[in-house]
Amino acid sequence: MADTRGRHHISRQFDSELEDIHNRALVMGGLVEQQITDALQALVRGDVKACMTVIENDHRVNALEVGLDEDCTRILVRRQPTASDLRLVLTVLKTINDLERIGDQATTVARRALDLAEVERPRNQYIEIQRLGERVCQLLRNTLDAFARLDAEAALAVTREDAMIDMEYEGILRQQMTLMMEDPRTIRRSLDIIWSVRALERIGDHAKNICEYIIFLVKGKVVRHTSPEQMAQAVDTPRH
């Protein structure tokens, strides 16, 4: 871990415990990334087997979350960390919560993909979902990279990127509404598409949350529910 905390504890054990939860949160992040990528591929290709794999793998994400949650609690109780150590533990605790929900959204996408695999494919072969999905994957990758590097600037950049996803999401929503009005027979398919893009959009929001925790971890400032300008200001000012 790039040690922005800058100093070591007398107890080496404590250092390695902190590093361990950070690493394991990232391992969990990697698994979640894979789940979304697989779910998206499954949806776009109409691959039933891949859908099942994603749904079956969700328990692994959950198991990682439960294990990490326990270890974070143990550190809080036994070590009673302060300052940046406390922020790290809190950040990991919150991050794994959001990661677990991202994992759930990935299974939602996979379940919708199961339904969609049975119906006729639209003319554009789900290209709009693929584009949105790739953007979401990239967003999550950048988020986890920022978490690995403890990079507040990169985290800030991701929170700005999330606005693009919301715009694309709305575009797809409008398109599907038009399609449903034109031909009510497509309503079932459109609803499934809307459910899955909704899940993807939610993933973007969770990634944004994680970025806010990262800024909190690095800069020591709470930037949730603040305007983008305030957030940028928090990132720019050096920590005392």
Partner: protein, 442 residues
């Protein structure tokens, strides 16, 4: 003149001058002490100058000094040492730079990892593929390359294996990665771009699978009509034998297609995907009885040392086709009256399945190529016994999926022995079963 002598001359001259002036001015103790004091100050000044010179980082020149004393000598020696070390440093940094520029230009990606998997150094290709930047030096690689397959590979520490990694969202980049330990506890991660090869492999595999699949339907139709035709014209003098020959060849073709489909299915799988505990002793019993009916009493087929409590983690269906292939091969290549023996037992570092026969044997130059598709030692003979030429290929793929190895020992004219060795972590012991069956078996 040596520097020692020079210094001695200096001191002697000084004392002589002091004595002389002391005699002239009649103040011998004063002049001597003034002279010695002066000499001491001069020496201290020299020492100071020397330390100044040492401090200056640029040892370009020795201070001009024509005197031949101990100081001059020290200057010259230090100067030479510094020049030498500077030249060595230059040579080393040139070497390092040459090495780094050439490693950076390599088409393969290279990352040097420390014992805790933190990044020590990486070249351009690796940085581009894995999204690493200069600020990531010292970061743990599994924090940035988070693909679960990669993390599993990193933690498994099975460095003789390679990892194929499909990077999504990066233009379908496919990397083949390998970790090579070096220098005690450091690792070199080497990544190769195999996107092109991967694409071609997929195309070839799809082609074989599709072609085989498409051929299957017309053949089924053929076989169906042939059967009806044979029923009607069996006794026809010229048509009868022709139709029977056609039927034989059709069923051979169907077998061939079935084998091809099986191989292309096995090729797409990775080890550990469909593993379950397999009761190998029971499986072998089934295969042995089938082999006996294939041999039809022409051979002695027996088992030797079947460990009835030894199970295996694997896929039963695949293991069945591998073992059955080996046994039917043994029967086919052993003349009537020969002996075929199967064994299944624990060995050092795992367990092994072996088939020995007293057959015609295989000349040693053919052994390494036996598992290639359609490779035939003796083309005439193989088609007469009716093999498809794919059996050992299937065996090889099944063993790959079980992380097992195949070794073949053979003496032409005396017989062959095919041995499949499975790793320790796939073996299972069913102690109770072993006791019970051996009790009833004895």
């Amino acid at each position: 003149m040596s520097p020692m002598l020079g210094t001695v001359t200096q001191i002697l001259g000084l004392i002589l001058a002091a004595l002389l002036s002391g005699a002239i001015f009649d103040a011998m103790p004063w002049t001597i002490s003034v002279a010695l004091m002066g000499y001491l100050i001069w020496q201290l000044y020299q020492a100071h100058r020397f330390s100044k010179w040492l401090e200056s980082s640029e040892p370009a020149q020795t201070p001009a000094n024509e005197r031949n004393d101990i100081w001059n000598h020290i200057y010259r020696q230090v100067y030479q040492i510094r020049r030498r070390s500077q030249r060595r440093k230059q040579r080393l940094s040139d070497l390092l730079e040459r090495y780094e520029t050439s490693a950076a230009a390599l088409p393969d990606g290279v990352v040097a990892l420390r014992s805790d998997h933190s990044i020590g150094w990486f070249n351009r290709a690796a940085g581009e593929w894995l999204g690493l930047g200069q600020r990531d030096l010292g970061q743990r690689i599994d924090n940035l390359v988070r693909y679960p397959a990669f993390i599993r590979y990193l933690q498994a520490e099975r460095y003789d294996e390679q990892l194929k990694l499909v990077l999504p969202g990066r233009g379908d980049l496919v990397l083949s990665m390998q970790i090579i330990p070096y220098g005690g506890d450091q690792y070199l991660l080497v990544a190769r771009d195999i996107s092109q090869i991967h694409r071609m492999e997929v195309m070839r595999r799809d082609f074989v699978a599709n072609a085989s699949h498409e051929l299957r339907t017309p053949l089924t139709v053929f076989a169906g009509y042939l059967e009806t035709l044979i029923e009607r014209f069996q006794d026809h003098p010229s048509l009868g034998p022709a139709l029977i020959q056609m039927q034989r060849q059709t069923s051979r073709m169907r077998q061939l297609i079935q084998d091809l489909l099986q191989i292309s299915r096995l090729e797409t799988l990775e080890p550990g995907q469909r593993d379950n505990p397999v009761n190998v002793p029971m499986l072998l019993e089934r295969i042995l009885s089938e082999t006996r009916s294939l041999s039809n009493g022409a051979h002695t087929i027996d088992s030797d040392e079947i460990d009835t409590g030894l199970w295996l983690v694997g896929n039963e269906q695949d293991l069945y086709s591998a073992f059955a292939n080996l046994l039917s091969n043994a029967v086919q290549y052993t003349p009537s009256g020969g002996r075929v023996t199967a064994s299944w037992q624990r060995v050092n570092g795992g367990c092994q399945f072996a088939v020995s026969d007293t057959g015609i044997g295989i000349p040693s130059q053919h052994i390494s190529r036996l598992t290639e598709r359609f490779y035939r030692v003796d083309p005439g003979r193989s088609s007469s016994v009716g093999g498809t030429g794919l059996g050992l290929s299937i065996v090889k793929h099944v063993l790959r999926l079980h992380q097992a190895s195949l070794s073949i020992e053979s003496v032409p004219g005396e017989g062959s022995r095919f041995i499949c060795r499975f790793p320790e972590n796939r073996t299972l012991s069913h102690k109770q079963d072993a006791v019970r069956t051996s009790d009833t078996g004895e």
